[in-house]
Symmetry: C2
Subunit: 396 residues, 2 copies
């Protein structure tokens, strides 16, 4: 935590755990006999329970979206830029609910949990979960919280896919669907990168077919490689260049090449790190591999690969939204090559064909897919104004 | 070999080995005491030795650029589409020289060779070689073959970097520099992908710090992963989609999603292969890992990372070409995101600033970086016409 909590922070927050004892049948046909969801909430639920917003997290996210867990906590939640008093998702106006999804590794039931039927840790036996399964578990959470209809369901990337699934499967239970930097299904290239990530993990000798915890180890190197691949795809070439390179126009003698001459001023002529972009990726990958669970990473990538709501509608995406009542707000970022603007435009076209109300904003930003996590002024402003209008509707 | 050799094939070819006993000082300061280069030639050298063309290969290429090695050979050389009688690099007109570069694994001195100073296999002790070192070794080959001046030096990708180095370091020794799908230096993203590939290889438990041959093994899994990453970056999203997916416009019911429903018509709900793009990448990666040397892969990626001729010229690329006499012909491909057209345009601008004669063609092609290996009509035709003019100049 910073020395003084900023006025626009939700401050100190504590996660709560909700136990669900009714079995949940998954899309695979497997059944979770019972499960727990870890949840954080920010702001206050109003008297008619109409001001609740659900936040859906992406691949490596969790329930801790805003604020600080304790006094010594240096880092705020993953979407702290967007959630707080006066921020786009304004906690003075809305009651914000954020959970860790099933299969996660931050407290909700997942591969690190004990399987009640065997008394052992699930590990690789945790069933494959899909976006639909998550949304089904989120519906039960809404029921538990007494929220009949979300003012909005909001998410970016894989979180945006959950938003779309809400609009398709539970049209009467949300007022607005806000899906950011997302896609109606992955591209072949996305799937290919995910498969490289999975292969990196499963071919690490410490993976032990997913039973690494039983061996008191972890496939850190494989997870690090998976994260490195992912990280390259989250950032744009522009973002990498502005972090590590010089534009040819601005090149200073000897300072080109992304941090070449790292320390000694010379190339290693060995297979050491020569460029800052390499050490940056190593650092990011290593830090991630210390905290994240490898089996969860596998599950999250499969959930991404499997998402394709058109499959149940003869491949016609617009039919998937035929019964959606909510209003849609989509945003995408110009340099996002993982979920590029054209994928959002594809969504817009299909939503319009389905007769849905949709607002769409394409934001110029240099930061690639990561932009959805960053306080880019035009993004923040549009996001804030849209949700102000949502709030005005509630009060009207 | 096909049952009947096509008329426009160079037919059966045999590599030759040239031994060089004069030590070669490398850019790293290390010295190769002696080395061998494996070479193939196609066509006939004319009386005044003016019709020779040098082919420079890319990351995974070698000397076998055209024709067949033996009757049972089903696959022609890697650039057979471009080299042969009546083809763009017409062997009825030109004498074509193609070599395996130092550090390679197809016969020239490299990590699999015996170090004459120790009597042991080089393995990881083979020195890091740069594009400049390769060109220096190619100059000696030219001397040995009695070729004072190449009619043209030609290469794509990493091969194109060698072409640029020839034009900078040996301006009087080539008439034309033909650089295809290349760049004046790598982007931060390119370097990042290369580092992921290197980490994949070196973290394979069978790598044994590069001494895998001594352990009678090979880091196949790591090399496979490296190739999978590479392969994704060589192909465009369009190429992947047309191989494995359907355009949304053309979607047939149930047939979307890149070969989902691979065999059984169902998703696996496990970490198996679900999509054709995954099995394709596995197949490509595995095939590659059976033939290619992991230490060579490491060397090739470092040669790519280190290439930046502007470094010796205060970061001003145009100064690098100030003494180049040759004419330049550059081509790039619209969907190549590894070496995109803008990198070629950057080269064109710098060549023009340097006062060089340069022709540049940007070709619409769906195949990404791989396009430079494929018989795309507009590409083939432009290539053929340019070299016809080169030949006419020689006869004039």
């Amino acid at each position: 935590m910073p020395d003084v909590i900023p006025d626009n922070s939700v401050g100190l927050v504590s996660p709560e755990t909700y136990q669900f004892d009714e079995p949940l049948t998954l899309r695979s046909g497997k059944v979770l006999p019972s499960y727990e969801l870890v949840v954080e909430t920010y702001g206050r639920l109003n008297a008619d329970r109409s001001n609740a917003i659900l936040i859906c997290h992406a691949l490596s996210g969790d329930h801790h979206a805003a604020g600080y867990h304790h006094e010594a906590d240096r880092k705020a939640g993953w979407w702290d830029e967007c959630i707080g008093p006066g921020k786009p998702i304004d906690t003075d106006l809305f009651y914000v609910v954020s959970l860790n999804n099933l299969g996660g590794c931050a407290g909700s039931t997942g591969p690190r949990s004990v399987n009640p039927q065997t008394g052992k840790i699930y590990g690789p036996d945790f069933p494959v979960v899909t976006v639909r399964d998550w949304v089904n578990s989120q519906v039960r959470l809404a029921d538990r919280l007494g929220i009949r209809k979300w003012a909005a369901v909001i998410g970016g990337s894989l979180g945006g896919m959950q938003v779309l699934r809400w609009a398709i499967s539970y049209p009467e239970r949300l007022g607005h669907a806000i899906a950011i930097a997302t896609a109606p299904k992955l591209s072949a290239q996305n799937i290919a990168f995910n498969e490289v990530a999975r292969q990196s993990i499963t071919s690490d000798p410490n993976f032990h077919e997913g039973r690494y915890l039983e061996h008191n180890t972890s496939p850190k190197k494989g997870l690090m490689l998976a994260r490195m691949v992912g990280h390259i795809t989250y950032l744009s070439e522009n973002a990498l260049r502005s972090k590590f390179g010089k534009n040819t126009d601005e090149q200073l003698p000897g300072s080109s090449n992304f941090g070449r001459d790292l320390k000694t001023g010379k190339l290693s002529f060995a297979f050491n790190i020569d460029f800052q972009v390499e050490s940056y990726l190593h650092y990011q990958g290593e830090r991630f591999s210390e905290n994240f669970d490898a089996n969860t990473y596998l599950l999250m990538t499969k959930a991404l690969d499997y998402f394709d709501p058109s499959v149940d509608y003869d491949g016609d995406l617009s039919k998937a939204f035929a019964h959606s009542h909510c209003r849609f707000f989509l945003m995408s970022f110009s340099t996002d090559w993982r979920f590029p603007p054209e994928r959002s435009r594809e969504l817009v076209e299909n939503l319009l064909s389905a007769g849905c109300q949709v607002s769409y904003l394409e934001i110029d930003a240099d930061q690639g897919h990561d932009a959805f996590l960053l306080p880019i002024p035009r993004y923040m402003e549009a996001f804030r104004r849209y949700l102000l209008r949502v709030h005005e509707e509630l009060s009207a």
